[in-house]
Amino acid sequence: MKCVRCLLQLQSLRLLGQSTRCSAQYSSLLPSASSQPGLPHSTQQQVSRSFHSSSACSKSRPVPTDFLKDQDGKKDKSLVVQKDLFEEVAKDIKTKATFNKVVEVFTKRDVRRRGHVEFIYAALKKMPEFGVERDITVYNKLLDVFPKEVFVPRNFIQRMFNHYPRQQECGVQVLEQMENYGITPNVETKVLLVQIFGDRSHPMKKYQRIMYWFPRFKHTNPFPVPRQLPEDPVDLARFSLTRIANDLDAKVTVYQVPFTDVSESGEDITCPHIVGIQSPSQMELLAQHNPSRPVFVEGPFPLWLRNTCVYYYVLRADPTPEEKKEEPYDPERCFDYPLQLDIDLERDLGDDEEFDVEDLDEGPVYAMCMSGQGDQATLNQWISGLQQTNPILGQVPTLFRLDSGPRDLQGPAETESGPRHQTDTETHNQSREEVQDEEAEEPRRTQGMKQ
């Protein structure tokens, strides 16, 4: 917090026209970090951290510009002008090309590139709008707006003081936004930064920090979600289900391909897709299921893939109350060696490396599916499809415990996580309706089989 405040103070003071003395006071400590080891450690850190702490910087960022607006209406005109430039050049088409065009227009307008800092801030804000927030070339182009070699300190005094702090801040901000979007800078970025700010500047240090961490973090997620999710709902379901199952043996079956048809009476019939997954071990478990106990179809459960939410359903059973019987030892089991030792000695405590894990009462999950529609009829089709490979499902009563969850599955990317979460909690609060008409179930399912 301290450093944020410090930074704010620093900027506001400067902008109010009293900057010279104060900034000198603070920034004199800054570049000295390496060259003057004799300085008190605490102050050194305090000030230099204003550049290190990325999140703090990003939060504090809008404040000075707002502040600026309030304080000095005339000066911040440039900001408005930059925003206008974007609106002007790219009126309705917001693409990478138009964005680049805006940048070009700006660079060609004035040789001195007056107001480039404001322009870059404005451009950074506009980037998501133009869909270029993940494009390294655009960031490089933006950095290219800075005039070269002007801000590079030329002597030790300049190097010691915070040389062109506003421009450096702005450069850091560009890198900051890259960092937030997970964009790794490339060599071009580095060359630009060196040309603009010199090789010991704050943006350069920011660059180095990013380059230190990003490659190391690149593969931290063992289950990466691709940036581009498959468009086809069946492919998406296939992807999601294999992701949940995390079993290389699990087999995905497409029970129904989505299609729309027009019935005889002229109504549109939409058949939703039904994609299920089941592994051999799940089949084995299901085959051992006690037929007198019901199995449940439950759902929908949400699965987030970046900012897309999909829903899946599971076929599961209640945890078996009776203890699992261990297979009795059969001395005539293995032809070649004894499978058990007849020794009255247990494992020594010192060598017992097993954890004491509390048993959770969670029933087995036999299969999972994703469907375009979460109604019982659709899911019944899934169950009848499963029945072909798991004949036991013909004898087991199947109960549907479905939440009246969101119907528009795959409401893709646009939906923000906030509101969707809310609807989820709402639906969960609704009492679960249990449909228990097994008698009625059976014929319907066999109908489904015939189809």
């Binding site: 490659p215 690149k218 059969d330 032809f335 070649d336 030792l341 007849d342 020794i343 009255d344 000695l345």
Partner: protein, 610 residues
């Protein structure tokens, strides 16, 4: 002979040597290393054949050797993947199809020792060796050891003459060592006169040529009013109908032997063709498998001896830099390795065979398994080194080495894979050690000061360098003084092994079954110890009777023993708790991570992250 048994010898070694298998079923104790007064005599002195038998061997060996040298074209057998009928007839005429069948049934009635001797020669052609072994070591063994008089009379004469070929049908697509997953089923017909066998067996040696098959199938047995599925053994004639064999497998080696799938479709088998009792097939199978392995030692030894002849000629004639290959150290090393291996295999094989020939049908299954593992692995190394001597020439089909390499690769796989046999050796040993040591370890765990002090004292004593002496050497010792060093090393290993086993039992108890990496090392130590015993015993005898070149034997024995001594010490150090040499946890973790992904998971060294 008298054997001096000092008290130390009895307790220490007695305990340890229990590790070896002894028949727990009967009172007959036949462990080769269970050094009580009788069983010490089992390994020392080395078993001998009588003069008559020696003569018999001479008479048998000469024609067989001649036949293999002149009539058998191994390259052709390998190429055509078939043993020509004239070769088969020659083998039949020599009586090689009924070597162990008693004379009253028309066989040669050979002892295990003589059988092993002939196996040395037949092993010169892998395909013939496997065909013969599948026929008599397992195929007709069931009738021989568990069949009744009527069955023997009916089947053995024709099998012994080679008119009928036998096969052993146990393995199924879903069942290797697991008896519970055998799917072939024999159902009793309504009139109770015959069984109907249905199912299919895979990897059956002689599957296409066999007329008589020992088939294992599931039968329903009612025991104490409870119905249960048990394995039974049947003699099935191809003539019963319903037996069909698949396409012969196209194999890497032993290409001349026939291996294929055999399917049984409602094959009617009369009830009198059940071997042993109905439901007693498991024991029959186990006995057949256990008794079939011992000859692999002499087979491998025979093969290596032949290879030494072939390669040494090349090494002596080939010149590089005006020196013959045989002058180069690295080439010499290969020959030494082959000689030592052949010597150890021979020693083990004939020690085991000799023990099996003792009256009372001793159970030497652990020893046989040890011989099988040692000889199959040693054989593989030797064959590959022999090929290496010839370099590129050895890699071509102009020389027989590549064929030997291919043929040899089956040895660690069939007749029980080496992994499974290691489990058998180690677990059987542990079971016996457990029986003896359980009481002591329980006391120790309870905190009995007396026992703990006793053990600590013993450890302290050995730490201060008090030598271990089990009386193998010295006055009245069984080992010749020129092997004293080696015998001492053996004794030290044995003593160390005793404490190691004790601590393993203390640490793991019966959960040892799941500690395969530990069991593997225990088995390896046991294999080395048995090998050491065999060479010590054999060369002691050779010196004592003044055998030809016995000084060379001493040299081989001492070389092997000091090598095995270091290997054992290393293995046993690994077995100690928190041993830095022990990488087990890492090994398991690596395997887990690889197997979870079913792939090699490192990123490519040329990959970049930025």
């Amino acid at each position: 002979k008298t054997w001096c048994m000092c008290s130390d010898y009895c307790t220490e070694v007695g305990i340890l040597m229990h590790l070896w298998h002894l028949s727990s079923k009967g009172e007959h104790i036949n462990s080769f290393l269970f050094y009580t007064k009788q069983s010490c005599a089992e390994v020392f002195p080395y078993p001998e054949v009588g003069n008559e038998e020696a003569e018999e061997i001479q008479q048998l060996v000469a024609p067989v050797e001649k036949f293999f040298a002149e009539e058998v074209d191994s390259a052709r057998i390998d190429q055509e993947a078939k043993i020509p009928p004239e070769t088969m007839n020659g083998l039949k005429e020599l009586g090689l199809f009924g070597m162990q069948v008693p004379e009253e049934y028309g066989g040669l009635g050979l002892s295990n020792t003589v059988y092993a001797r002939l196996a040395e020669i037949t092993a010169l052609d892998g395909s013939i060796a496997v065909t013969l072994a599948a026929h008599q070591a397992i195929g007709l063994k069931g009738i021989l050891i568990a069949g009744n008089e009527a069955q023997k009379n009916k089947y053995l004469p024709k099998l012994a003459s080679g008119e009928h070929i036998a096969a052993f049908c146990l393995t199924e697509p879903g069942s290797g060592s697991d008896a519970a997953s055998i799917q072939t089923r024999a159902t009793l017909s309504e009139d109770g006169t015959h069984y109907l066998i249905n199912g299919s067996k895979i990897w059956i040696s002689n599957g296409a040529t066999a007329d008589i098959m020992t088939v294992f199938a599931r039968t329903e047995v009612v025991k104490d009013g409870v119905k249960a599925d048990k394995i039974s053994a049947f003699i099935v004639e191809r003539a019963f109908g319903g037996v069909s064999s698949g396409k012969p497998e196209d194999k890497l080696g032993i290409r001349g032997s026939n291996t294929c799938e055999v399917a049984f479709d409602n094959v009617p088998v009369p009830v009198e063709n059940v071997i042993g009792e109905v439901g007693g097939g498991f024991k029959v199978a186990m006995n057949i498998l256990n008794s079939g392995r011992f000859s692999m030692g002499s087979s491998s030894a025979g093969m290596i001896k032949k290879l030494i002849e072939l390669t040494s000629e090349y090494a002596a004639t080939r010149k590089q830099f005006n020196r013959s290959l045989s002058e180069f150290g690295m080439i010499q090393e290969k020959f030494a390795l082959m000689a030592v291996n052949a010597f150890v295999m021979e020693s083990m094989a004939y020690l085991t065979a000799g023990m099996m020939d003792r009256p009372g049908l001793p159970d030497c299954s652990v020893e046989a398994a040890i011989v099988k593992i040692f000889s199959s692995e040693g054989g593989w190394i030797c064959v590959s080194e022999a090929l290496q001597v010839l370099g590129g020439l050895g890699y071509t089909k102009n020389y027989p080495f590549e064929r030997y390499v291919r043929d040899c690769r089956i040895l660690p796989i069939f007749e029980g894979t080496n992994e499974i046999l290691r489990m058998y050796i180690a677990l059987t040993g542990m079971q016996h050690a457990g029986k003896i040591l359980t009481g002591k370890i329980k006391e120790l765990k309870k905190g009995n000061i007396g026992v703990a002090f006793g053990m600590a004292g013993k450890r302290l004593k050995s730490a201060f360098g008090s030598s271990v002496d089990f009386g193998l050497t010295g006055k009245d010792g069984v080992v010749h003084p020129s092997l004293e060093e080696s015998a001492k090393k053996f004794e030290q290993n044995v003593a160390f092994f005793g404490t190691t086993v004790e601590s393993l039992l203390y640490r793991y108890g019966k959960s040892m079954v799941d500690e395969q990496l530990i069991l593997k090392r225990v088995a390896d130590v046991l294999i080395n110890l048995y090998a050491m015993t065999a060479v010590l015993s054999r060369s002691s005898r050779s010196i004592s009777i003044g055998a030809r070149n016995h000084d060379h034997e001493v040299l081989l024995a001492n070389t092997f023993c000091s090598d095995a001594y270091f290997k054992n010490n290393y293995l046993m150090t690994q077995l100690q708790k928190h041993s830095p040499e022990n990488n087990d946890a890492n090994i398991k973790k690596i395997a887990k991570e690889v197997l979870e992904n079913r792939a090699y998971i490192c990123s490519h060294p040329l990959e970049r992250t930025f």
